[in-house]
């Protein structure tokens, strides 16, 4: 049997297509991005080696700092709101006496399967300063809190971020809920027999057992925030002004609009570095003693 499963020709045939496609269209471009970040390049003519110039320019570019700040704001808000909401919802739904669980779980996940374009167009309408849902509700309640949600320079980033919170909290919820449901019933039974209340059980038993699940959720939320682009593009086109710019926005704009490909690559490299840093940093607090869930 080993001979059959070790047949070199078969192995090659089975793996080559996938590896070839992946290398040419994923790995090679990633390497190219890194490589090109050290060059001055307009995409058409010869690229001129410029060493760390692009990075130097990046660190003195106020747009870079604004973009990074927005990425971080996005990431922090996603973590705070999505994960805590998802966790609280999980705790509530874990209660055996709640009815209609399937309905709630479906309701929470539906926004996740919508196209980001649909979501952004819809929220564009909801945020509309004159006729949108929010301002209509506020008016109906007699409030004066009328706002230009998306065209306020300081508030826009939060309005945009909230749209992502709305859409993807259900995703985090499903992950955490599935993880919680996988906890063997005996643990919870034993705790209940010992007189543990539901809330205590959630805090002291369920939560710690979900450490590796939470690590995954945190990584998703943080990298999701750092990579933000579509919502900004669709809702505000990076505006008002550049107040909702992100690193991805910088990358695209520099490469495709301004024609500074090398500079665009440099900002893309910074994005990768930030994502890697986040993944590494998030690994520590979630070190799992393991054994129970595996």
């Amino acid at each position: 049997m080993n001979k059959m499963l070790g047949d070199k020709k078969a192995i090659f045939l089975f793996t080559f297509p996938a590896l070839a496609l992946f290398t040419v269209f994923v790995f090679y471009p990633i390497m190219q991005t890194f490589y090109r970040s050290f060059y001055e390049w307009d995409g058409i003519n010869e690229a001129v080696f410029s060493g760390l110039d692009n990075y130097r320019e990046l660190f003195t570019d106020p747009l870079f700092y604004q973009s990074v700040a927005n990425c971080l704001i996005f990431a922090v808000i996603l973590v705070l709101f999505q994960i805590s909401a998802a966790t609280l919802l999980t705790f509530a739904l874990l209660n055996p006496r709640i009815k209609g669980k399937k309905f709630f779980r479906t309701a929470y996940f539906i926004p996740v399967v919508l196209s980001v374009t649909v979501v952004c167009q819809l929220w564009s309408a909801i945020y509309n300063p004159e006729f949108g849902l929010i301002n209509q509700v506020l008016e109906a309640l007699g409030s004066d809190l009328h706002q230009n949600w998306l065209s306020d320079m300081h508030f826009a980033i939060f309005a945009v971020t909230f749209v992502n919170v709305w859409q993807y909290t259900g995703y985090q919820f499903t992950i955490i809920y599935s993880g919680a449901r996988a906890i063997p019933e005996d643990y919870l039974e034993a705790a209940r027999i010992d007189g543990c209340t539901n809330w205590k059980m959630n805090l002291h038993i369920v939560l710690p057992l979900l450490k590796s699940t939470f690590r995954m959720c945190f990584v998703f939320a943080v990298t999701g925030g750092l990579n933000a682009y579509a919502q900004m593009n669709l809702l505000t086109k990076g505006g008002p002004g550049t107040s909702t710019y992100t690193l991805t926005y910088m990358t695209f704009r520099n490469a495709f609009t301004v024609g500074k490909f090398g500079y665009g690559c440099a900002s893309a490299v910074m994005l990768v570095i930030l994502c890697l840093a986040a993944t590494v940093i998030l690994n520590r607090p979630f070190k799992d003693r393991d054994g129970i869930m595996a």
Binding site: A10, F22, V26, V113, S115, S124, I126, S212, A268, C275
Partner: protein, 277 residues
Amino acid sequence: MKSGKIKISILTVLLGIVAVIDLYPLVYLIFYSLKSNEEIFYINPFGIPQNPLFSNYEIAVESFNMLNYFKNSIIVSAAAIIFVMLLALPFAYATTRMKWKLKGVMSVYVAIGLFIPIQVTIIPLAILMKQLQISNTYFALIIPYTAFNLAFASMVLQTSFESIPKEMEESAFMDGASVFTAFRKIILPLTKPAVATAVTFIFLNVWNEYTVASVFISNEKVKTLPIGLAAFTGQHSTEWGPMGACLVLASIPTIVIYLIFSEQIERGMTVGGAVKG
């Protein structure tokens, strides 16, 4: 126990409030897709449409090019799904069951695709597309989508292959089958649930994809739904009704797929680490 009942009621109300926050915007969307601008803006912003304007849907299909976008999305999604499965199934099998030195390395290599944000590759990819002269064609989307979804599909399939007992291949080989036949006739049928999960995920990822498509496609004839719809804000921003109709139509496929395959989706999300760690 009375206090128990009150607690349950409060919890249910809170759960319900979140459900409303999640669902009402969609209800609002469906309602306003059937209203006239006047009704949405002034007369009846929140409630059920008084005289449902189904004509909005006609306008959506006729003057908003919806059929074209649907067609393009279907073509790109179907092609990506087929190509990913054609490449990922043998690859996942080879990295789990076959015997060769580099199998672990190759597995991790492809897994990089899961961690790298796609925008990092966009600049060189765009240039590559131009060099290959496939810019603004279906392949400009199908190829990157296939390459990037390989990683996730492989992961799902690897988990499935690992759980098949080794006796399966043993008995096939003893009956004189080659590796290829064993793979095709014995192993593949056993992995149908994982295939369903992978296909569902690839579909959702590709159908809704916006970032890559927004960069690579500018030709109206080839635009997929997310891009086609995005272009509307400028032109038709004052006709909320038909716009809403477009958004509703565009959402029906993914919602239907979700409702049918919700189990597969949940399984796919917990694979590879959420529960295992």
